[in-house]
Structures are given as structure tokens and as C-alpha cells.
């Protein structure tokens, strides 16, 4: 499998990358690891005329807590996320999720920013970021703007990142107090896209009442999806088995899975319910530790 030819550039600054995007027009694509884009090009599903590789731009790869946020540079590789001490200590959801994304070799090169900007509801980070209430920083010639994750995904392979723009950072409210997160997806084999996946974040007060909750769903909706009704049931409640059951039930009702080789609609709804329940229990037990 061999891609169509294209022009390759590896700019060394963000401004240079942005001006190249303007110069080359609509058919230019950003290369941020390439483990989704290059297979598509080899299959000739995609044929960009220009590839702009962000790998040589310094300062786009980091994971750190700062100003009440966990900030993740767009070019942070999955493996760097997996290995980051702060993530291992406080944001268990990334350990859950990255282990299930493709395989170690792909995670050595695939980036968090690339995973989001690809705009595929089958990817895992979108649901994780929805659950965590992330914001995305996008740079253009006019400076930087911040887009809440709920406004980020436009459609199949399209996101808020417009032509001439580069996704530079993902930030999420820092873990604080009794905070727990968890992610799991059902997959047919190691490294597969999700049959269904659920990301959960909860924050509890000292009495165990839920202060904040986030639930994101993978690959059971045309767009990465927030289970809003489920979240509303959780916030302000004691997270009893009944409340969890109710939230899980709502998530399974509110998603819109389509039947495919991975399973029919009923099966996927059932998975959403079961995994939501399990992840809520997991996140709560992590929050209480």
C-alpha cells in the first residue's frame, strides 16, 4: 500500500506552521504522529497535497499541572502520557485509556492532540476529555482561542480546528479533593476500536455526595457524546447503587449506536449500561482512596 505523493515540510515554529497552512490551502494536512492519517493515505482514502509535520516544533509536548489545570501539549505522545508521574498518581483514567488505545508501537508515536483533532467518535480520548470537562487551545494567525470540548467535535472527521489553525494544548480542571476517574471499552481484540466505551469522572464531598460528574461515551453516537442526563442524576446525590443504576440506564437510552460488525444496537446499549455502572463504581472507589 502506497500513498499518493505530496509535499512534506517540517517547520520549526508554530508561526511557520500556520503560515505554511495558509500558503498551501485546503489540501494541506497536519501530521501529528500520523498513525491514523498515514494508513488512510496508504489506502488512498485521503490524499493531502501537503503534509506539515509538527514534530520539530519545540514546546508542544508536556504534561503538567499549572493554574488549576492539567495541561497537555498537543504533541504529547500516548506513551509519554502513560508514563507521566502526575498522570499515574492522580489521573487514572489515562492509564485505563492509553492501555486500550491501539498497541505499544502505535502509542510510541500517536499523539493526544492528533487523536482529538482526527475527529473520530471511535477514538478514545474524545470521551475521556468530555468526562474530564476539558478545553482545547487552538492557535491561528490571530492568536489563540479556547474551545470547550463540548463545542469541539463537528462531525465525522471534522472539528473546531479550522483551516489555518493548529490544536496546541488540551487542558482540564485539575484533580482536587476526592476525585476519581475511570475508563473502559469493550473491544473484540487488543487494540481494536471500541464496540462501546465509557469514561467517567466524579468528585465527592466529605460526606460522599457528588459535587461534579462527567460521563463521556465512545463510538456509540455519530459524535463523541456526553451523557448529560446521567450526570444530572449523579450531581448532588449520594452515589448509591440505585443512583448508579439509574445513571447507567439513562446513558444506554441516550446514546445512538449503529449496528456494525462489532455488534447490534441492543448489544451496544447493553454494553454502555454495564460499563457505565462498572466505571462509576471504579471512579468512586478511586475517589474515596
Amino acid at each position: 500500500m502506497i500513498a499518493e505523493n505530496f509535499v512534506y515540510s517540517a517547520p520549526t515554529s508554530l508561526s511557520e506552521a500556520i503560515s505554511l497552512l495558509h500558503e498551501y490551502g485546503d489540501d494541506a494536512k497536519i501530521l501529528a504522529g500520523g498513525h491514523s492519517l498515514i494508513p488512510m493515505m496508504k489506502l488512498r482514502f485521503a490524499a493531502p497535497t501537503h503534509l506539515i509535520d509538527l514534530k520539530d516544533i519545540p514546546g508542544l509536548s508536556y504534561v503538567r499541572e499549572e493554574d488549576g489545570y492539567l495541561k497537555i501539549g498537543a504533541m504529547t505522545r500516548e506513551v509519554e502520557m502513560e508514563d507521566a508521574a502526575v498522570v499515574r498518581e492522580k489521573y487514572h483514567i489515562f492509564g485505563d485509556a492509553t492501555k486500550l488505545i491501539a498497541d505499544p508501537q502505535v502509542r510510541n508515536f500517536g499523539t493526544i492532540g492528533g487523536n482529538l483533532a482526527h475527529g473520530d467518535a471511535a477514538n478514545d480520548h474524545p470521551a475521556v476529555m468530555i468526562a474530564l470537562g476539558a478545553e482545547v487551545e487552538i492557535a491561528s494567525q490571530d492568536g489563540k482561542r479556547i474551545v470547550p470540548i463540548d463545542d469541539f467535535f463537528y462531525g465525522f472527521y471534522t472539528t473546531a480546528v479550522q483551516h489555518g489553525e493548529v490544536l496546541t494544548e488540551i487542558r482540564l480542571p485539575a484533580a482536587n479533593g476526592r476525585y476519581g476517574t475511570a475508563y473502559h471499552k469493550a473491544e473484540r481484540k487488543a487494540g481494536d476500536y471500541a464496540t462501546a466505551g465509557v469514561a467517567v469522572m466524579v468528585q465527592l464531598d466529605e460526606q460522599g455526595q457528588c459535587l461534579r460528574a462527567g460521563i463521556g461515551l465512545t463510538n456509540v453516537n455519530p459524535l463523541p457524546m456526553r451523557a448529560s442526563r446521567s450526570e444530572a442524576v449523579l450531581v448532588g446525590s449520594q452515589l448509591t447503587a440505585e443512583v448508579i443504576e439509574q445513571a447507567a440506564q439513562m446513558a444506554s437510552e441516550d446514546c445512538n449506536p449503529s449496528a456494525d460488525l462489532r455488534g447490534d444496537e441492543d448489544y451496544k446499549r447493553h454494553l454502555v449500561k454495564v460499563i457505565t455502572k462498572r466505571m462509576l463504581h471504579q471512579a468512586i472507589s478511586r475517589a474515596k482512596k
Partner: protein, 165 residues
Amino acid sequence: MEITLTVNGTEHTVQVEPRTLLVHVIRETLSMTGTHIGCDTSSCGACTILVNGRSAKSCTLLAVQANGAEIITVEGLATTEGLHPIQEGFHLNHALHCGFCTPGVMLRAVELLEKNPNPTEEEIRWGISGNLCRCTGYNNIVKAIQWASAKMQNKELPSTEPEFV
């Protein structure tokens, strides 16, 4: 475009098209055919090499992305001292049949053992989840990696004799 790669310690400057895949430079331009192409879509891991110490699927990397990189392929595992412990482990534990996936699995295992010198069986299985063996010799592949782990740490070597059930 002109790029420079250091492959198994030797520097090569080669001309490539932007679309040229790293695996094709290694196999065709540099004639090192130990790195294989299985699935062509970064699923099977037969093309796994080390790029700056990280295991990578060379069928999904453009050669230009690896410009300036240090690359290790299967041809670079053995030294004048002898075979790499992972190579010995594969041979002694019958961890290969047709041999097509073997170079990729071994290079993946080398990085795995570098990061985690004493992995559990589960960690090994997750660690090689990006490598397919269609002869399905996974049990012995796991044993081979355990054997190499012991050898690299100068620990007592596990038996390589067959088990009777």
C-alpha cells in the same frame, strides 16, 4: 528529499520521496530484508523496528519522519560477542515457526524489557499486543521473553525443556 538515518550504528544518507515509507528504505534502499511487511496498516507488527529506542511500526512511518534518527533492526541485535539474549530466548524456547513475525516481536520485546526488565506474563502479553503471530506461537513467545528477561538480569534461567501435561 535527502535524509540521513543511522541504522545499526552505520550512517546512511539516502534520497527519498516524501511518501516513501521507512520500511521500504530499510528493505529496498539499504537491502536489510529482516524487517517484514505483513498487514501494511500498522496492525500486525512484522515491520517493528526501534527508532531512537522506541519500538515503531515502520510501515506507518514516512522515511522523512525518521530523518536524523537512530534505528535498530533485527540485523543489529547480535554483536561480535554473540546473539542478543532475546534471540537466544526465541531459539531455545521454540518461539518461532515461519519466522516472518519474529524480528518485529523481538524488537518490541527489547524495548519492553528495557522499560520493564522483569515483566509479569500479563505485562508481556499486553506488551506484545501490537504483534501478530499467525502461526499462533504466543505461549512460547512469552516464555522466550521471560527467558531473555532472566538472562539479561543474570538470574537463574527457566527450563527450556518441553512440559509434559
